[in-house]
Protein backbone atom coordinates (compact mmCIF):
# COMPACT_ATOMS: atom_id res chain seq x y z
CA UNK A 1 0.00 0.00 0.00
CA UNK A 2 1.40 3.39 -0.96
CA UNK A 3 1.29 6.24 1.55
CA UNK A 4 -1.21 8.08 -0.71
CA UNK A 5 -3.77 5.36 -0.58
CA UNK A 6 -3.20 4.91 3.14
CA UNK A 7 -3.96 8.57 3.62
CA UNK A 8 -7.00 8.23 1.39
CA UNK A 9 -8.28 5.26 3.35
CA UNK A 10 -7.57 7.04 6.59
CA UNK A 11 -9.35 10.09 5.29
CA UNK A 12 -12.35 8.00 4.28
CA UNK A 13 -12.47 6.22 7.60
CA UNK A 14 -12.13 9.51 9.42
CA UNK A 15 -14.96 11.00 7.43
CA UNK A 16 -17.02 7.88 7.94
CA UNK A 17 -16.54 8.08 11.67
CA UNK A 18 -17.50 11.75 11.59
CA UNK A 19 -20.66 11.19 9.57
CA UNK A 20 -21.61 8.20 11.67
CA UNK A 21 -21.34 10.63 14.57
CA UNK A 22 -23.94 12.71 12.77
CA UNK A 23 -26.10 9.63 12.25
CA UNK A 24 -25.80 8.74 15.93
CA UNK A 25 -26.74 12.26 16.95
CA UNK A 26 -29.91 12.22 14.87
CA UNK A 27 -30.68 8.70 15.96
CA UNK A 28 -30.41 9.79 19.58
CA UNK A 29 -33.01 12.51 19.01
CA UNK A 30 -35.71 9.94 18.47
CA UNK A 31 -34.76 7.48 21.17
CA UNK A 32 -37.23 6.79 23.95
CA UNK A 33 -36.23 8.56 27.13
CA UNK A 34 -36.92 7.21 30.55
CA UNK A 35 -39.40 9.96 31.57
CA UNK A 36 -41.51 8.88 28.62
CA UNK A 37 -41.57 5.29 29.79
CA UNK A 38 -42.46 6.44 33.29
CA UNK A 39 -45.28 8.54 31.87
CA UNK A 40 -46.86 5.66 29.98
CA UNK A 41 -46.51 3.31 32.91
CA UNK A 42 -48.16 5.96 35.05
CA UNK A 43 -51.17 5.96 32.75
CA UNK A 44 -51.84 2.42 33.96
CA UNK A 45 -52.02 3.56 37.55
CA UNK A 46 -55.69 4.57 37.56
CA UNK A 47 -56.67 0.91 37.13
CA UNK A 48 -55.00 0.09 40.39
CA UNK A 49 -54.91 3.24 42.45
CA UNK A 50 -58.14 5.11 41.67
CA UNK A 51 -60.50 2.63 39.97
CA UNK A 52 -63.47 4.79 40.89
CA UNK A 53 -62.13 7.53 38.64
CA UNK A 54 -61.81 5.48 35.48
CA UNK A 55 -64.63 7.37 33.77
CA UNK A 56 -62.75 10.62 34.33
CA UNK A 57 -59.53 8.97 33.21
CA UNK A 58 -61.20 7.99 29.94
CA UNK A 59 -62.32 11.58 29.45
CA UNK A 60 -58.78 12.77 30.10
CA UNK A 61 -57.37 10.32 27.56
CA UNK A 62 -59.86 11.50 24.95
CA UNK A 63 -59.14 15.19 25.61
CA UNK A 64 -55.42 14.44 25.59
CA UNK A 65 -55.79 12.94 22.13
CA UNK A 66 -57.59 16.09 21.01
CA UNK A 67 -54.84 18.26 22.49
CA UNK A 68 -52.23 16.11 20.75
CA UNK A 69 -53.86 16.81 17.40
CA UNK A 70 -53.78 20.56 18.08
CA UNK A 71 -50.12 20.35 19.08
CA UNK A 72 -49.28 18.98 15.64
CA UNK A 73 -50.49 22.12 13.93
CA UNK A 74 -49.85 24.70 16.63
CA UNK A 75 -46.77 23.48 18.44
CA UNK A 76 -44.95 21.98 15.51
CA UNK A 77 -46.17 24.08 12.63
CA UNK A 78 -47.10 27.39 14.20
CA UNK A 79 -50.71 27.50 13.00
CA UNK A 80 -52.88 29.19 15.61
CA UNK A 81 -56.34 27.67 15.37
CA UNK A 82 -59.28 28.93 17.39
CA UNK A 83 -61.63 26.47 15.74
CA UNK A 84 -60.09 23.03 16.10
CA UNK A 85 -63.27 21.78 17.76
CA UNK A 86 -64.84 21.74 14.30
CA UNK A 87 -63.06 18.46 13.54
CA UNK A 88 -63.69 17.06 16.98
CA UNK A 89 -67.36 17.77 16.45
CA UNK A 90 -67.48 16.25 12.98
CA UNK A 91 -65.92 13.06 14.29
CA UNK A 92 -68.30 13.02 17.23
CA UNK A 93 -71.40 13.46 15.08
CA UNK A 94 -70.16 11.04 12.42
CA UNK A 95 -69.75 8.29 14.99
CA UNK A 96 -73.06 9.21 16.60
CA UNK A 97 -75.03 9.22 13.37
CA UNK A 98 -73.43 5.97 12.28
CA UNK A 99 -74.36 4.29 15.53
CA UNK A 100 -77.83 5.77 15.51
CA UNK A 101 -78.25 4.47 11.98
CA UNK A 102 -77.71 0.99 13.30
CA UNK A 103 -74.00 0.40 12.88
CA UNK A 104 -72.37 0.65 16.27
CA UNK A 105 -69.10 -1.17 15.68
CA UNK A 106 -66.61 0.98 17.59
CA UNK A 107 -63.38 0.59 15.63
CA UNK A 108 -65.06 0.95 12.28
CA UNK A 109 -66.88 3.96 13.69
CA UNK A 110 -63.56 5.51 14.65
CA UNK A 111 -62.14 4.93 11.21
CA UNK A 112 -65.14 6.48 9.49
CA UNK A 113 -65.22 9.43 11.88
CA UNK A 114 -61.53 10.02 11.33
CA UNK A 115 -62.05 9.86 7.61
CA UNK A 116 -64.95 12.32 7.71
CA UNK A 117 -63.02 14.79 9.81
CA UNK A 118 -59.95 14.27 7.67
CA UNK A 119 -61.83 15.01 4.48
CA UNK A 120 -63.25 18.20 5.96
CA UNK A 121 -59.78 19.08 7.22
CA UNK A 122 -58.34 18.51 3.77
CA UNK A 123 -60.97 20.75 2.18
CA UNK A 124 -60.45 23.59 4.63
CA UNK A 125 -56.68 23.18 4.53
CA UNK A 126 -56.70 24.80 1.11
CA UNK A 127 -58.04 27.93 2.74
CA UNK A 128 -55.88 27.67 5.85
CA UNK A 129 -52.59 27.17 4.06
CA UNK A 130 -52.92 30.39 2.10
CA UNK A 131 -53.16 32.80 5.00
CA UNK A 132 -51.21 33.91 8.04
CA UNK A 133 -51.51 36.05 11.15
CA UNK A 134 -54.89 37.54 12.03
CA UNK A 135 -56.62 36.42 8.85
CA UNK A 136 -55.64 32.81 9.56
CA UNK A 137 -56.84 32.93 13.16
CA UNK A 138 -60.14 34.47 12.14
CA UNK A 139 -60.67 31.98 9.35
CA UNK A 140 -60.21 29.02 11.69
CA UNK A 141 -62.63 30.65 14.10
CA UNK A 142 -65.11 31.55 11.39
CA UNK A 143 -65.19 28.06 9.91
CA UNK A 144 -65.87 26.51 13.31
CA UNK A 145 -68.55 29.05 14.19
CA UNK A 146 -70.18 28.51 10.81
CA UNK A 147 -70.22 24.78 11.37
CA UNK A 148 -71.73 25.21 14.80
CA UNK A 149 -74.49 27.43 13.45
CA UNK A 150 -75.26 24.97 10.69
CA UNK A 151 -75.32 22.10 13.17
CA UNK A 152 -77.66 24.12 15.38
CA UNK A 153 -80.02 24.83 12.51
CA UNK A 154 -79.92 21.31 11.09
CA UNK A 155 -81.60 19.90 14.16
CA UNK A 156 -83.28 17.23 12.05
CA UNK A 157 -79.79 15.74 11.65
CA UNK A 158 -77.99 16.71 14.78
CA UNK A 159 -80.80 16.78 17.27
CA UNK A 160 -80.15 20.49 17.80
CA UNK A 161 -79.69 21.61 21.35
CA UNK A 162 -81.14 18.37 22.67
CA UNK A 163 -78.33 16.39 21.13
CA UNK A 164 -78.36 13.06 19.35
CA UNK A 165 -80.49 10.29 20.79
CA UNK A 166 -80.20 6.58 20.33
CA UNK A 167 -76.44 6.25 20.21
CA UNK A 168 -75.42 2.77 21.18
CA UNK A 169 -71.91 1.40 20.92
CA UNK A 170 -71.43 -2.31 20.30
CA UNK A 171 -68.89 -4.22 22.38
CA UNK A 172 -65.30 -3.92 21.20
CA UNK A 173 -64.20 -6.97 19.22
CA UNK A 174 -67.64 -8.29 20.02
CA UNK A 175 -66.55 -9.13 23.54
CA UNK A 176 -65.80 -6.12 25.70
CA UNK A 177 -68.91 -4.25 26.72
CA UNK A 178 -68.91 -0.71 27.94
CA UNK A 179 -69.61 -0.85 31.62
CA UNK A 180 -70.67 1.75 34.14
CA UNK A 181 -67.31 1.79 35.85
CA UNK A 182 -65.40 3.00 32.85
CA UNK A 183 -63.06 -0.01 32.77
CA UNK A 184 -63.61 -0.72 29.11
CA UNK A 185 -63.86 2.96 28.28
CA UNK A 186 -60.50 3.77 29.77
CA UNK A 187 -58.75 0.77 28.27
CA UNK A 188 -60.20 1.61 24.88
CA UNK A 189 -59.36 5.34 25.05
CA UNK A 190 -55.91 4.80 26.49
CA UNK A 191 -55.02 2.17 23.92
CA UNK A 192 -56.11 4.46 21.13
CA UNK A 193 -54.25 7.40 22.60
CA UNK A 194 -51.09 5.32 22.76
CA UNK A 195 -51.37 4.05 19.20
CA UNK A 196 -52.05 7.48 17.75
CA UNK A 197 -49.28 8.90 19.93
CA UNK A 198 -46.81 6.42 18.44
CA UNK A 199 -47.89 7.55 15.00
CA UNK A 200 -47.51 11.24 15.91
CA UNK A 201 -44.14 10.58 17.49
CA UNK A 202 -42.89 8.87 14.35
CA UNK A 203 -44.24 11.75 12.27
CA UNK A 204 -42.38 14.30 14.37
CA UNK A 205 -39.11 12.44 13.94
CA UNK A 206 -39.52 11.98 10.22
CA UNK A 207 -38.21 14.31 7.51
CA UNK A 208 -41.75 15.66 7.27
CA UNK A 209 -41.67 16.52 10.97
CA UNK A 210 -38.43 18.38 10.40
CA UNK A 211 -40.08 20.32 7.60
CA UNK A 212 -42.94 21.30 9.91
CA UNK A 213 -40.48 22.64 12.41
CA UNK A 214 -38.82 24.50 9.59
CA UNK A 215 -42.11 26.20 8.78
CA UNK A 216 -42.56 27.10 12.42
CA UNK A 217 -39.03 28.42 12.76
CA UNK A 218 -38.88 30.44 9.55
CA UNK A 219 -41.74 30.21 7.10
CA UNK A 220 -40.04 32.67 4.75
CA UNK A 221 -36.92 30.54 4.31
CA UNK A 222 -38.79 27.41 3.36
CA UNK A 223 -39.70 28.28 -0.25
CA UNK A 224 -36.11 29.44 -0.73
CA UNK A 225 -34.91 25.88 -0.08
CA UNK A 226 -37.49 24.47 -2.44
CA UNK A 227 -40.10 23.56 0.17
CA UNK A 228 -43.75 23.43 -0.76
CA UNK A 229 -44.91 25.09 2.44
CA UNK A 230 -48.59 25.03 1.54
CA UNK A 231 -48.45 21.36 0.66
CA UNK A 232 -46.86 20.53 4.00
CA UNK A 233 -49.43 22.59 5.88
CA UNK A 234 -52.27 20.91 4.04
CA UNK A 235 -50.90 17.48 4.94
CA UNK A 236 -50.42 18.15 8.63
CA UNK A 237 -53.75 19.95 8.91
CA UNK A 238 -55.54 16.99 7.38
CA UNK A 239 -53.80 14.55 9.72
CA UNK A 240 -54.55 16.73 12.75
CA UNK A 241 -58.18 17.00 11.68
CA UNK A 242 -58.48 13.22 11.36
CA UNK A 243 -56.98 12.66 14.80
CA UNK A 244 -59.31 15.27 16.33
CA UNK A 245 -62.19 13.46 14.63
CA UNK A 246 -61.11 10.18 16.18
CA UNK A 247 -61.04 11.85 19.59
CA UNK A 248 -64.57 13.17 19.03
CA UNK A 249 -65.78 9.74 17.99
CA UNK A 250 -64.23 8.25 21.10
CA UNK A 251 -66.21 10.69 23.20
CA UNK A 252 -69.43 9.73 21.48
CA UNK A 253 -68.77 6.04 21.79
CA UNK A 254 -67.80 6.10 25.45
CA UNK A 255 -70.53 8.45 26.62
CA UNK A 256 -73.18 7.36 24.11
CA UNK A 257 -74.31 10.96 23.62
CA UNK A 258 -73.47 13.82 21.29
CA UNK A 259 -74.43 17.41 21.92
CA UNK A 260 -73.70 20.69 20.18
CA UNK A 261 -71.04 21.56 22.66
CA UNK A 262 -68.57 19.30 20.84
CA UNK A 263 -68.39 22.00 18.17
CA UNK A 264 -68.33 24.96 20.51
CA UNK A 265 -65.80 27.74 20.76
CA UNK A 266 -65.60 26.77 24.42
CA UNK A 267 -64.09 23.44 23.46
CA UNK A 268 -61.63 25.03 21.04
CA UNK A 269 -60.56 27.53 23.67
CA UNK A 270 -60.30 24.90 26.42
CA UNK A 271 -58.02 22.64 24.39
CA UNK A 272 -55.86 25.63 23.51
CA UNK A 273 -55.53 26.51 27.20
CA UNK A 274 -54.62 22.91 28.04
CA UNK A 275 -51.95 22.80 25.39
CA UNK A 276 -50.41 26.08 26.49
CA UNK A 277 -50.53 24.91 30.08
CA UNK A 278 -48.62 21.76 29.27
CA UNK A 279 -46.29 23.31 26.76
CA UNK A 280 -46.47 23.31 22.96
CA UNK A 281 -44.21 21.49 20.57
CA UNK A 282 -43.32 18.62 22.85
CA UNK A 283 -46.10 16.11 22.13
CA UNK A 284 -46.46 15.39 25.85
CA UNK A 285 -47.51 18.97 26.60
CA UNK A 286 -51.06 18.40 25.44
CA UNK A 287 -51.32 15.17 27.42
CA UNK A 288 -50.07 16.70 30.63
CA UNK A 289 -52.04 19.90 30.17
CA UNK A 290 -55.21 17.91 29.60
CA UNK A 291 -54.62 15.82 32.70
CA UNK A 292 -53.89 18.80 34.94
CA UNK A 293 -56.80 20.85 33.61
CA UNK A 294 -59.38 18.13 33.83
CA UNK A 295 -58.33 16.82 37.21
CA UNK A 296 -58.45 20.37 38.55
CA UNK A 297 -61.85 20.93 36.99
CA UNK A 298 -63.14 17.74 38.49
CA UNK A 299 -61.85 18.64 41.92
CA UNK A 300 -63.41 22.09 41.73
CA UNK A 301 -66.59 20.91 40.02
CA UNK A 302 -68.59 21.99 43.02
CA UNK A 303 -67.64 25.53 42.20
CA UNK A 304 -69.82 27.80 40.17
CA UNK A 305 -68.59 27.74 36.56
CA UNK A 306 -67.91 31.48 36.75
CA UNK A 307 -65.42 30.99 39.55
CA UNK A 308 -63.74 28.23 37.62
CA UNK A 309 -63.12 30.67 34.76
CA UNK A 310 -61.85 33.25 37.17
CA UNK A 311 -59.07 30.94 38.30
CA UNK A 312 -58.38 29.69 34.77
CA UNK A 313 -58.05 33.31 33.70
CA UNK A 314 -55.55 34.00 36.45
CA UNK A 315 -53.63 30.83 35.70
CA UNK A 316 -53.52 31.71 32.03
CA UNK A 317 -52.13 35.16 32.82
CA UNK A 318 -49.62 33.59 35.20
CA UNK A 319 -48.52 30.99 32.66
CA UNK A 320 -47.99 33.57 29.95
CA UNK A 321 -46.08 35.85 32.26
CA UNK A 322 -44.02 33.32 34.16
CA UNK A 323 -44.01 30.04 32.26
CA UNK A 324 -44.46 30.87 28.59
CA UNK A 325 -43.44 27.37 27.55
CA UNK A 326 -45.88 25.72 29.89
CA UNK A 327 -45.23 23.10 32.50
CA UNK A 328 -42.89 21.04 30.34
CA UNK A 329 -41.00 24.14 29.29
CA UNK A 330 -40.49 25.08 32.90
CA UNK A 331 -39.37 21.57 33.76
CA UNK A 332 -36.85 21.41 30.95
CA UNK A 333 -35.49 24.78 32.06
CA UNK A 334 -35.01 23.40 35.55
CA UNK A 335 -33.25 20.34 34.19
CA UNK A 336 -30.92 22.44 32.07
CA UNK A 337 -30.07 24.68 35.01
CA UNK A 338 -29.16 21.70 37.13
CA UNK A 339 -27.02 20.22 34.36
CA UNK A 340 -24.96 23.37 33.99
CA UNK A 341 -22.10 23.47 36.50
Amino acid sequence: MTSDSTQLTEGLLHRQSRTSEAHDYLQAQSRWRWPEIVFWLATLLPFVVVPSYLVLAAQIAITALFALSLDLILGFCGIVSLGHAAFFGIGAYAAGLLSKGGFGEPLAGLAIAGLAAGVFGYATSFIIARFRHLALIMLTLGIALLLQEIANSASWLTGGSDGLQGVHTWPIFGRFRFDLYGYTAYTYSLALLFVVFLFARRLIHSPFGLALRGIRENAVRMPAIGASTRGHIRTVYTIAAAIAGIAGALLTQTTETVSLEVLSFQRSADVLVMLILGGTGRLYGGLIGAAVYMIARDQFSGLNPQYWYFWIGLILIAVVMLLPNGILGGLSLLVRRREKP
Partner: protein
Protein backbone atom coordinates in the same frame (compact mmCIF):
# COMPACT_ATOMS: atom_id res chain seq x y z
CA UNK B 1 -19.67 29.99 -26.51
CA UNK B 2 -21.06 29.97 -22.98
CA UNK B 3 -24.81 29.73 -22.72
CA UNK B 4 -26.71 32.27 -20.68
CA UNK B 5 -27.61 30.73 -17.33
CA UNK B 6 -29.85 33.55 -16.14
CA UNK B 7 -31.53 36.15 -18.27
CA UNK B 8 -33.69 39.01 -17.06
CA UNK B 9 -35.51 41.00 -19.72
CA UNK B 10 -37.29 44.30 -19.24
CA UNK B 11 -38.20 43.67 -15.63
CA UNK B 12 -40.47 46.34 -14.15
CA UNK B 13 -42.03 46.63 -10.71
CA UNK B 14 -43.78 49.48 -8.94
CA UNK B 15 -45.82 49.85 -5.78
CA UNK B 16 -48.40 52.43 -6.73
CA UNK B 17 -46.38 55.45 -7.76
CA UNK B 18 -43.14 54.12 -6.28
CA UNK B 19 -41.07 52.53 -9.05
CA UNK B 20 -38.60 50.04 -7.65
CA UNK B 21 -37.49 48.37 -10.86
CA UNK B 22 -37.51 49.96 -14.26
CA UNK B 23 -36.77 48.00 -17.41
CA UNK B 24 -33.96 45.90 -15.97
CA UNK B 25 -32.20 43.64 -18.42
CA UNK B 26 -29.18 41.51 -17.75
CA UNK B 27 -27.68 38.27 -18.97
CA UNK B 28 -25.40 36.16 -16.83
CA UNK B 29 -23.39 33.51 -18.69
CA UNK B 30 -23.03 30.04 -17.22
CA UNK B 31 -20.25 29.79 -14.66
CA UNK B 32 -19.73 33.56 -14.50
CA UNK B 33 -19.28 35.62 -11.36
CA UNK B 34 -21.25 38.85 -11.60
CA UNK B 35 -21.55 41.51 -8.94
CA UNK B 36 -24.50 43.83 -8.45
CA UNK B 37 -23.69 47.07 -6.72
CA UNK B 38 -25.47 50.32 -6.06
CA UNK B 39 -26.33 52.75 -3.29
CA UNK B 40 -28.81 51.81 -0.56
CA UNK B 41 -32.35 51.81 -1.84
CA UNK B 42 -31.26 51.24 -5.43
CA UNK B 43 -33.43 48.14 -5.59
CA UNK B 44 -30.81 45.39 -5.45
CA UNK B 45 -32.61 43.16 -2.97
CA UNK B 46 -35.89 43.96 -4.75
CA UNK B 47 -34.32 42.63 -7.94
CA UNK B 48 -33.33 39.42 -6.16
CA UNK B 49 -36.88 39.14 -4.81
CA UNK B 50 -38.24 39.58 -8.32
CA UNK B 51 -35.87 37.00 -9.80
CA UNK B 52 -36.61 34.43 -7.11
CA UNK B 53 -40.35 34.97 -7.28
CA UNK B 54 -40.99 36.52 -3.89
CA UNK B 55 -42.31 39.54 -5.78
CA UNK B 56 -44.39 39.49 -8.95
CA UNK B 57 -43.15 41.86 -11.64
CA UNK B 58 -45.49 44.22 -13.45
CA UNK B 59 -43.72 43.46 -16.70
CA UNK B 60 -40.73 41.55 -18.03
CA UNK B 61 -39.50 37.98 -18.22
CA UNK B 62 -37.07 35.84 -16.30
CA UNK B 63 -35.37 33.00 -18.10
CA UNK B 64 -33.38 30.29 -16.37
CA UNK B 65 -31.29 28.00 -18.55
CA UNK B 66 -33.45 28.83 -21.51
CA UNK B 67 -36.74 28.15 -19.74
CA UNK B 68 -39.15 30.95 -18.92
CA UNK B 69 -39.78 30.87 -15.17
CA UNK B 70 -41.67 34.16 -14.82
CA UNK B 71 -44.87 32.42 -13.78
CA UNK B 72 -43.36 29.92 -11.36
CA UNK B 73 -43.69 30.00 -7.56
CA UNK B 74 -40.52 30.59 -5.51
CA UNK B 75 -40.17 26.97 -4.44
CA UNK B 76 -40.45 25.80 -8.02
CA UNK B 77 -37.66 28.14 -9.06
CA UNK B 78 -35.50 26.93 -6.18
CA UNK B 79 -36.06 23.35 -7.30
CA UNK B 80 -34.89 24.24 -10.77
CA UNK B 81 -31.64 25.45 -9.32
CA UNK B 82 -32.24 29.16 -8.77
CA UNK B 83 -31.19 29.59 -5.16
CA UNK B 84 -30.60 32.65 -3.02
CA UNK B 85 -29.20 33.63 0.34
CA UNK B 86 -30.59 36.44 2.47
CA UNK B 87 -28.92 39.67 3.48
CA UNK B 88 -30.38 39.38 6.97
CA UNK B 89 -29.98 35.80 8.13
CA UNK B 90 -33.10 33.76 7.44
CA UNK B 91 -32.22 30.68 9.44
CA UNK B 92 -34.04 28.27 11.73
CA UNK B 93 -33.13 29.50 15.23
CA UNK B 94 -33.96 26.39 17.23
CA UNK B 95 -32.84 23.82 14.68
CA UNK B 96 -29.24 22.69 14.85
CA UNK B 97 -27.02 23.46 11.89
CA UNK B 98 -27.04 19.79 10.95
CA UNK B 99 -30.82 19.62 11.10
CA UNK B 100 -31.15 22.79 9.05
CA UNK B 101 -28.97 21.59 6.22
CA UNK B 102 -30.43 18.08 6.37
CA UNK B 103 -33.86 19.66 6.01
CA UNK B 104 -32.75 21.53 2.92
CA UNK B 105 -31.33 18.34 1.41
CA UNK B 106 -34.47 16.38 2.25
CA UNK B 107 -36.61 19.02 0.58
CA UNK B 108 -34.55 18.66 -2.54
CA UNK B 109 -34.70 14.86 -2.60
CA UNK B 110 -38.39 14.95 -1.61
CA UNK B 111 -37.64 12.84 1.42
CA UNK B 112 -39.90 15.27 3.29
CA UNK B 113 -42.87 13.56 1.77
CA UNK B 114 -42.58 10.63 4.14
CA UNK B 115 -43.86 10.89 7.67
CA UNK B 116 -43.64 7.22 8.56
CA UNK B 117 -39.87 6.72 8.49
CA UNK B 118 -37.39 8.18 10.93
CA UNK B 119 -35.08 10.96 9.78
CA UNK B 120 -32.07 8.94 10.91
CA UNK B 121 -32.92 6.32 8.30
CA UNK B 122 -32.07 8.75 5.51
CA UNK B 123 -28.34 8.10 5.51
CA UNK B 124 -27.58 9.67 2.14
CA UNK B 125 -29.26 12.95 3.00
CA UNK B 126 -27.48 13.16 6.34
CA UNK B 127 -24.13 12.37 4.73
CA UNK B 128 -24.64 15.03 2.11
CA UNK B 129 -25.62 17.61 4.74
CA UNK B 130 -22.55 16.73 6.76
CA UNK B 131 -20.28 17.09 3.74
CA UNK B 132 -21.70 20.52 2.95
CA UNK B 133 -21.11 21.62 6.52
CA UNK B 134 -17.59 20.18 6.38
CA UNK B 135 -16.80 22.13 3.22
CA UNK B 136 -17.72 25.30 5.11
CA UNK B 137 -15.85 24.28 8.27
CA UNK B 138 -19.02 24.21 10.33
CA UNK B 139 -18.86 20.62 11.55
CA UNK B 140 -17.45 21.62 14.93
CA UNK B 141 -20.66 23.45 15.78
CA UNK B 142 -23.18 21.52 13.74
CA UNK B 143 -24.93 19.99 16.76
CA UNK B 144 -25.64 23.37 18.31
CA UNK B 145 -28.85 25.30 17.70
CA UNK B 146 -28.47 27.97 15.07
CA UNK B 147 -29.15 30.79 17.51
CA UNK B 148 -26.06 29.82 19.49
CA UNK B 149 -23.73 30.16 16.53
CA UNK B 150 -21.46 33.15 16.04
CA UNK B 151 -22.64 35.64 13.45
CA UNK B 152 -19.91 34.71 10.98
CA UNK B 153 -20.84 31.03 11.30
CA UNK B 154 -24.48 31.91 10.72
CA UNK B 155 -23.53 33.68 7.49
CA UNK B 156 -21.73 30.51 6.43
CA UNK B 157 -24.80 28.48 7.35
CA UNK B 158 -26.83 30.73 5.04
CA UNK B 159 -24.59 29.60 2.23
CA UNK B 160 -24.74 25.99 3.39
CA UNK B 161 -28.53 26.03 3.15
CA UNK B 162 -28.27 27.39 -0.36
CA UNK B 163 -25.71 24.75 -1.36
CA UNK B 164 -27.96 21.97 -0.11
CA UNK B 165 -30.40 22.86 -2.85
CA UNK B 166 -27.72 22.08 -5.48
CA UNK B 167 -27.94 25.48 -7.15
CA UNK B 168 -27.22 26.10 -10.80
CA UNK B 169 -27.56 29.85 -10.31
CA UNK B 170 -26.73 31.24 -6.90
CA UNK B 171 -27.85 34.69 -5.83
CA UNK B 172 -25.89 35.90 -2.82
CA UNK B 173 -27.39 38.92 -1.07
CA UNK B 174 -24.52 40.70 0.68
CA UNK B 175 -22.83 37.54 1.96
CA UNK B 176 -20.29 39.52 3.96
CA UNK B 177 -22.83 41.87 5.55
CA UNK B 178 -21.97 42.52 9.15
CA UNK B 179 -19.15 40.00 9.26
CA UNK B 180 -16.12 41.52 11.00
CA UNK B 181 -12.81 41.61 9.14
CA UNK B 182 -11.22 38.83 11.18
CA UNK B 183 -13.95 36.31 10.38
CA UNK B 184 -14.44 37.09 6.73
CA UNK B 185 -11.52 34.95 5.55
CA UNK B 186 -13.57 31.78 5.96
CA UNK B 187 -16.38 33.38 4.01
CA UNK B 188 -14.10 34.46 1.19
CA UNK B 189 -12.68 30.96 1.05
CA UNK B 190 -16.20 29.54 0.77
CA UNK B 191 -17.11 31.84 -2.10
CA UNK B 192 -13.81 31.17 -3.86
CA UNK B 193 -14.43 27.47 -3.47
CA UNK B 194 -17.76 27.55 -5.29
CA UNK B 195 -17.68 25.24 -8.27
CA UNK B 196 -17.38 26.78 -11.71
CA UNK B 197 -20.51 24.89 -12.65
CA UNK B 198 -22.46 27.28 -10.48
CA UNK B 199 -23.27 30.72 -11.85
CA UNK B 200 -23.02 33.38 -9.16
CA UNK B 201 -24.62 36.81 -8.96
CA UNK B 202 -23.84 38.58 -5.74
CA UNK B 203 -24.85 41.89 -4.21
CA UNK B 204 -22.04 43.47 -2.32
CA UNK B 205 -20.90 46.75 -0.87
CA UNK B 206 -17.51 45.31 -0.01
CA UNK B 207 -15.37 46.33 -2.97
CA UNK B 208 -12.60 43.95 -2.03
CA UNK B 209 -14.98 41.02 -2.58
CA UNK B 210 -16.17 42.56 -5.82
CA UNK B 211 -12.70 43.03 -7.18
CA UNK B 212 -11.55 39.62 -6.07
CA UNK B 213 -14.38 37.53 -7.43
CA UNK B 214 -16.42 39.37 -10.01
CA UNK B 215 -15.65 39.25 -13.69
CA UNK B 216 -18.32 41.81 -14.40
CA UNK B 217 -20.08 44.46 -12.32
CA UNK B 218 -23.61 45.79 -12.80
CA UNK B 219 -24.46 49.11 -11.19
CA UNK B 220 -28.07 49.61 -10.13
CA UNK B 221 -29.35 53.06 -9.23
CA UNK B 222 -32.94 54.02 -8.52
CA UNK B 223 -34.25 50.76 -9.92
CA UNK B 224 -32.42 51.02 -13.24
CA UNK B 225 -29.20 49.63 -14.59
CA UNK B 226 -26.85 52.58 -14.76
CA UNK B 227 -23.91 50.86 -16.35
CA UNK B 228 -22.19 47.48 -16.44
CA UNK B 229 -18.62 46.52 -17.17
CA UNK B 230 -15.48 44.98 -15.72
CA UNK B 231 -14.56 46.00 -12.17
CA UNK B 232 -11.83 48.31 -13.42
CA UNK B 233 -14.09 50.01 -15.92
CA UNK B 234 -16.68 50.58 -13.21
CA UNK B 235 -14.13 51.84 -10.73
CA UNK B 236 -13.00 54.55 -13.11
CA UNK B 237 -16.44 55.44 -14.46
CA UNK B 238 -17.29 59.05 -13.51
CA UNK B 239 -21.03 58.38 -13.44
CA UNK B 240 -20.58 55.62 -10.86
CA UNK B 241 -18.37 57.87 -8.78
CA UNK B 242 -20.89 60.67 -8.70
CA UNK B 243 -23.64 58.24 -7.73
CA UNK B 244 -21.62 57.22 -4.70
CA UNK B 245 -21.42 60.91 -3.85
CA UNK B 246 -17.85 61.33 -4.80
CA UNK B 247 -16.60 58.84 -2.22
CA UNK B 248 -13.39 57.02 -3.07
CA UNK B 249 -14.03 53.50 -4.33
CA UNK B 250 -13.04 51.78 -1.17
CA UNK B 251 -15.11 49.80 1.23
CA UNK B 252 -18.46 51.55 1.59
CA UNK B 253 -19.87 51.27 5.07
CA UNK B 254 -23.26 49.63 5.17
CA UNK B 255 -25.89 50.13 7.83
Amino acid sequence: MSEIALSVRGLCKSFGSLVVASDITLNVPAGARYALIGPNGAGKTTLINLITGMLRPNAGRIVLDGADITGLAPEQRARRGLVRTFQINALFPHLTALESVTLAVCERTRAVRTFWRKLSAYKHEIDEAYDILAALSLTAVCYRPTRELAYGQQRLLEIALAMAARPKVLLLDEPAAGVPREDSAELFKAIAGLSREITVLFIEHDMELVFRFASRVIVLVGGRVLVDGTPHEIASDPRVRSVYLGRAMGKVAHG
